[in-house]
């Protein structure tokens, strides 16, 4: 196990290096000047040039890239141009919000998506299958921002059950924290539930057609055992792969939900950083995202070992 983790982490180093260089170059390709934005609309050209010099933005591109990589090798992701804090602290401040949202969303997504997918596969070609897949299709197709706005109007404005926006840290209490996040988490989960349900259904259909399932039923095995022990367990590799992918998406891809529900998460941080051309922040955050995705992949690989004893990493 330790060998696997070490190998995969070592394997991630060149990938992260490629991400680092690409992130740097992509940001430089964008037009716009962070010094102009920092200086404000009434600033003189001299004032803008002074800011550019202070931030080393007047240096040749290769030197800027070299400096950044050198600092990176020393574990320094740099400092934000706009926020007056280091990239690590800016992300660390917001990561609990994104992780909380992703975790709650995943807790809703996994059982709901699997249940819908299993029901649809089990009742294949029946009205239940049609309803389950229609629900999944709606989840995948309807724009998140629209669902979010409707959800706020219904659950916050009309019914008054949930706060309309904002984040409460876990340190201020579990219930306020959960109440602040449950609505955005459900909205965020809707798309993922649809996605997971469709993948689960597809994997279950493949397994349910296998001879060993027919044999189990012929032997009189209880239906729940057929479904969960014989069929579902054999779909777990596919399901786990999708869940790992969904978790990655939930951490980094919740910008719209963060925007609508005014959550101070990492997604909003990155979008704002792109809009203000905060180069170090975008580069550093992308790199951190890359590292988190690598960790999620490693965790998924380890889970493969647990759910399927046939899997071996030699």
């Amino acid at each position: 196990m330790l060998r696997l983790i070490t190998f995969r982490l070592a394997h991630a180093v060149p990938i992260l290096l490629i991400i680092a260089v690409l992130a740097f170059l992509l940001m430089q390709l964008l037009p716009g000047d962070p010094a102009v934005l920092m200086a404000g609309e009434g600033a003189t050209p001299q004032a803008i040039q002074e800011i550019r010099q202070r931030l080393n933005l007047d240096q040749p591109l290769v030197r800027q890239l070299g400096t950044w990589l050198l600092h990176l090798a020393q574990g320094d992701l740099g400092s934000s141009l706009q926020l007056n804090q280091t990239v690590v602290s800016a992300v660390a401040e917001r990561l609990p919000v994104s992780l909380s949202l992703a975790a709650i969303s995943l807790l809703i997504t996994v059982p709901a998506g699997i249940m819908l997918g299993v029901v649809a596969a089990y009742a294949r070609d029946s009205w239940l299958d049609a309803v389950a897949m229609a629900v999944a299709l709606i989840g995948v197709s309807v724009p998140t921002f629209w669902i979010a706005i409707l959800s706020v109007i219904l659950f916050s404005v009309t019914l008054g059950w949930l706060p309309s926006a904002g984040y409460v840290p876990l340190s201020e209490g579990f219930v306020p924290w959960l109440l602040a996040l449950i609505q955005p988490a459900i909205v965020l989960a809707l798309f993922q539930i649809g996605f997971l349900a469709r993948m689960t259904r597809s994997a279950m259909l493949d397994v349910l057609d296998q001879d060993f399932i027919r044999t189990a039923r012929a032997k009189g095995v209880v239906e729940s055992v057929v479904l969960w022990k014989h069929a579902f367990r054999n779909t777990l590799i596919a399901v786990l792969t999708v869940v790992g992918y969904i978790f990655s998406l939930l951490i980094g891809g919740s910008v719209i939900v963060e925007q609508v529900f005014a959550l101070p998460g990492v997604g909003r941080l990155v979008v704002q950083a792109v809009l203000t051309r905060d180069y170090p922040l975008v580069q550093g955050t992308l790199l951190l995202f890359g590292f988190i995705f690598v960790l999620i992949n490693i965790a998924t690989d380890i889970l493969y070992l647990i759910v399927d004893p046939r899997v071996r990493y030699d």
Binding site: G32, G42, L116, A165, S224, Q259, L275
Partner: protein, 526 residues
């Protein structure tokens, strides 16, 4: 073939029922909890704004979002009254020498910083020195030859040449000339400690989430007998806290107001106003404190001659543009606001809303325009009102036989191109909020730099006269000439006075006064 027996089918359907039940439970269980009460109390005003400040370092702060917070925390020697005129704030008395070169400020005594220290002339001098070192607006202090502090409550500024509007320069709410403790003098830009003398102090600032101001109990209320007036006068914090929530999505802000999670919200889009207007406890307010213009690049081929710029201006009709943009608008040709001391009535009205495509086409041909030559229109989707104005302009130019190409880019690039003149654009659109209110000295940078005006002797002479005339009537004459030149040469083409819609809970904030930025002193909360 193996088929399911009746008992297997029955077992299967029973099992399905259980599965469906669990699925439904997972779906609804999370919604069964009641909503929490979000900070609604008599001690905290909650303001749902579009974004949070980028910085609270006053010497580099220029956006309205920054300034709305700063003016509660910091104060300057002078500030603006309700009519945007310069009035003493931390100064109790200001003497201007007859030559307009020496300004003596007597400071109010007993004014304390949020750290408990008393403000003295040494703090004022250190603040001006820091400003000159790092503010993007530092060029306005270029003529300062000397600061002196003969005693702890007297501060003197000497200039190398006459500046009749130096106090107006100091009242600027953009990059405000506020007083910081002298210990902050060497702090780099954006790294200053947030310590001022204002009625509120910074209590908490969580980026991207919220910011809380807390009443400063030792605030030295101005007791010189002047009532609260604009940013000056007798200011008192009547509530314990003001909480700014950063809510970028308009629907969320409206929902927060409707649920009582906010007492006042900024920037309500025109098409969402109906969701608020039906509620008796809520009130919609329209503030026309800004002006929108087309900016014409005088250095870009296609608009580098006055004749061609004037042809373009002749094609423009503002009514269609005003109908298209999503903000409240009002027709006005002037570059100042009615009621302000430099407002000149209909004097330069002839350049506004000409709406004559036929004449525009003729003027363009006389100016050397060749059919097929494309005028480059640059805009951004970040501000829909800028984009919509440009789209209507494109159609109006087409009607005049002038071809154009619209480039929609992000605001960062649009702003940078406008400042630098690069990016191959002929016309862009933007909005000014402080400049129309604050007058000629505040306009100077914009009217030269955005259209990239060069070698205009008439404009240079008018500005010289403006700065050196001690008499207000002479300065007004100079301003009339400046405005005429800008509009006649079509450096900038006025579209309309514009503003924002905001909404508030009038039961909670029964006596909230509108100003061009929101102020929360002297505001009781019910």
């Amino acid at each position: 073939m193996i088929t399911a027996t009746a008992s297997q089918k029955s077992k299967k359907s029973r099992y399905l029922s259980i599965l469906m039940g669990i699925t439904a439970l997972v779906g609804v269980s999370a919604l069964a909890a009641p909503a929490q009460s979000q900070g609604k109390n008599a001690e905290t005003i909650i303001y749902g704004n579009t974004a949070g400040p980028g910085t609270l370092d006053p010497f580099v702060g220029s956006s309205t979002v920054d300034l709305e917070v700063m003016h509660h925390i910091f104060e300057g020697l002078v500030g603006m009254d309700a009519n945007y005129a310069a009035k003493p704030m931390l100064a109790s008395k200001i003497d201007v020498a007859p030559d307009g070169k020496t300004f003596t400020f007597q400071l109010r005594k007993g004014v304390k910083f949020h750290n408990g220290k008393e403000m003295t002339a040494a703090d004022v001098q250190a603040s001006f020195e820091r400003y000159r070192k790092l503010s993007p607006n530092a060029s306005v202090l270029a003529d300062v030859t000397e600061y002196s502090t003969p005693d702890p409550y007297t501060f003197i500024i000497k200039l190398s040449k006459t500046n009749a509007v130096f106090l107006d320069v100091l009242k600027s709410p953009v990059y405000p000339f506020v007083v910081l403790p002298a210990e902050q003098k060497d702090k780099p830009a954006r790294e200053v400690d947030i310590i001022g003398t204002g009625p509120y102090k910074l209590a908490e600032w969580r980026k991207d989430s919220h910011l809380t101001l807390e009443k400063f109990d030792d605030y030295a209320v101005d007791t010189t007998g002047k009532p609260a007036d604009g940013l000056v006068g007798k200011k008192e914090a009547l509530v314990r806290n003001v909480r700014y929530r950063f809510m970028p999505e308009a629907n969320s802000r409206i929902a927060a107001l409707q649920t009582g999670e906010a007492d006042i919200i900024a920037n309500v889009p025109r098409d969402l106003v109906a969701r608020i207007e039906g509620r008796p406890d809520l009130e919609v307010r329209r503030l026309l404190a800004c002006q929108q213009y087309f900016i014409v690049n005088t250095q870009q081929p296609g608009t580098d001659t006055p004749e061609m710029r004037q042809a373009i201006r002749t094609a423009i009709g503002v009514d269609d543009i005003m109908a298209a943009i999503s903000r409240p608008t009002k027709r006005s040709h002037a570059m100042t606001i009615p009621g302000g001391e430099y407002y000149n009535g209909d004097l330069n009205n002839q350049y506004y809303d000409q709406k004559n495509p036929k004449l525009a086409g003729e003027l363009a041909r006389k100016a050397g325009y060749k059919p097929g030559q494309k005028i480059q229109l640059m805009t951004t989707a970040t501000y829909p009102e800028f984009r919509d104005a440009i789209l209507v302009l494109s159609e109006q130019l087409k009607e005049a036989g002038i071809d154009s190409e619209v480039h929609v880019i992000d605001w960062a690039t649009n702003a940078a191109n406008m400042q630098s003149g690069g990016g191959n654009w002929n016309i862009s659109s933007t909005q000014f909020c402080s400049n129309p209110n604050l007058g000629p000295q505040q306009w100077k940078f914009m009217v030269y730099n955005f259209p990239h005006v060069k070698n205009d002797g008439t404009l240079d002479a008018a500005y010289d006269k403006f700065y050196t005339s001690q008499d207000l009537a002479d300065r007004k004459t100079a301003w009339n000439q400046i405005e005429k030149q800008v509009l006649d040469q079509a450096y900038m083409i006025k579209i309309a006075d514009t503003g924002l819609i905001q909404a508030l809970n009038k039961k909670r904030l029964p006596s909230f006064d509108d100003y061009y930025i929101n102020r929360f002193w002297n505001v009781p909360l019910k």
